[in-house]
Amino acid sequence: MRLMANESAYDFETRLRQHQLELQPQTVETLQINMGRLCNQTCLHCHVSAGPDRAGEQMSRDTVDSCLAILARYPEIVKLDITGGAPELNEHFRHVVESAAGLGRHVMVRHNLTVTLDPHPVTGESMDWLPAFFAENKLEVVSSLPYWSSYFTDRQRGSGTFDRSIESIRLLNERGYGIEHSGLVLDLVYNPAGAFLPLGQEQLKKDFERELMQNYGLSFNRLYTITNMPINRFREMLERRDAFEEYMEKLVGAFNPCAAGGVMCRNLVSVGWDGRLYDCDFNQMKGLRIDIGGPVHVGNFDLKKVLDRRIVFGEHCFGCTAGAGSSCTGEIS
């Protein structure tokens, strides 16, 4: 098949039409903010292509305050989901968490575990205050752990990551995270360590629970399985192995109309580190801005316009609708 420039062989919107699916926004239940691309790690599959060398791309205090103003103005936005990079490395992290918690919002942080143990990549500051800070503010902690042993984890996230992740989960458990009835939630996220699709969230959860408890005495609350999105670093890896088409065919072949109904962009808006708005974190990484006519910045956010928008879909959306579904909220059962 010959394609024109910018044309994709994998047409998501056509597939939606074939299933008579119209995916319009339903709510903005969650405001997801990307604090920046600075990270202490450089994982192979990272859809943000984050790393220690990306200190220039950090959310400013003004943008943080605009996000908080949105929460203050719209009580129907009940959750704040903080991502990065490693969002904890942004100097305004404490401010945003404390203010959002003060506004009565449920606050979630995408926490990579090792950030607690590594020095800050720019300032060298110790980050060991994180578990206590999370607990004080009752943050929901969502952390990637690609497997319950070192092989997959270290391959994907760098040598030694597994042992340090275990150490960091121990510190969270000590604060009550992942412990029954403590009210402090620690969720783990499993994503495949290669170009294959995840299956069986329930069985994996049992395996993770058994192995982490038996081998390390550790516990957690939920396990989410997510599919690797064919963008940025993961896409580059696929292309290097001449496996991009094969992976896309797998995603397209596993299209699940039921999972399509649950894609996260229907209930969320994503804010980039520079304050621009997007339908989701993945569109943000692809530079596909929210479509509500003209450039949109968090400073002139209008909920009604956002709810009336058409979501911008692309070939990468097949990553959200493959198999049991993903969209960073895990398998839908």
């Binding site: 497997y147 042993s149 092989y151 997959f152 495949p192 290669g194 294959f196 699709l197 995840p198 299956l199 069986g200 329930e202 069985q203 994996l204 395996d207």
Partner: protein, 111 residues
């Protein structure tokens, strides 16, 4: 040049129902019921058994398919390699236990 065992041919597996389709349908239904559901064994355990059988039967299609199925169902390369060693030891054991037959025959021949 045409080769036996083109990996793309695995996609044509459903074509075995071209004739007497109802028999193929029964097979695929049975296959799906056994392999795609957790039962007394989990799908991960079944995929590991299938991977071992694929090696013992030297089927390149099944080795490809079940390498991926094992990963998708949460197995890691150590478990998968161990499953292949189970197949290998069984194959060796099966060969060697037949040696008893040879010994019986030698005995009968008075050797």
């Amino acid at each position: 040049m045409m080769n036996y065992f083109e990996s793309d041919d695995l996609k044509k597996f459903p074509a075995i129902g071209k004739f007497r389709g109802e028999l193929a349908r029964k097979f695929f239904e049975y296959y799906g019921k056994v392999m795609d559901e957790d039962g007394a064994l989990t799908r991960r355990e079944k995929a590991l058994i299938a991977l071992a059988v694929a090696h013992a039967q030297k089927c390149p299609y099944c080795i490809d398919a079940y390498t991926e199925a094992c990963l998708s169902n949460g197995a890691d390369p150590e478990q998968m390699s161990e499953a292949v060693h189970v197949a290998a030891t069984m194959m060796a054991g099966i060969t060697l236990v037949h040696n008893v037959q040879m010994l019986n025959k030698l005995d009968k021949l008075g050797v």
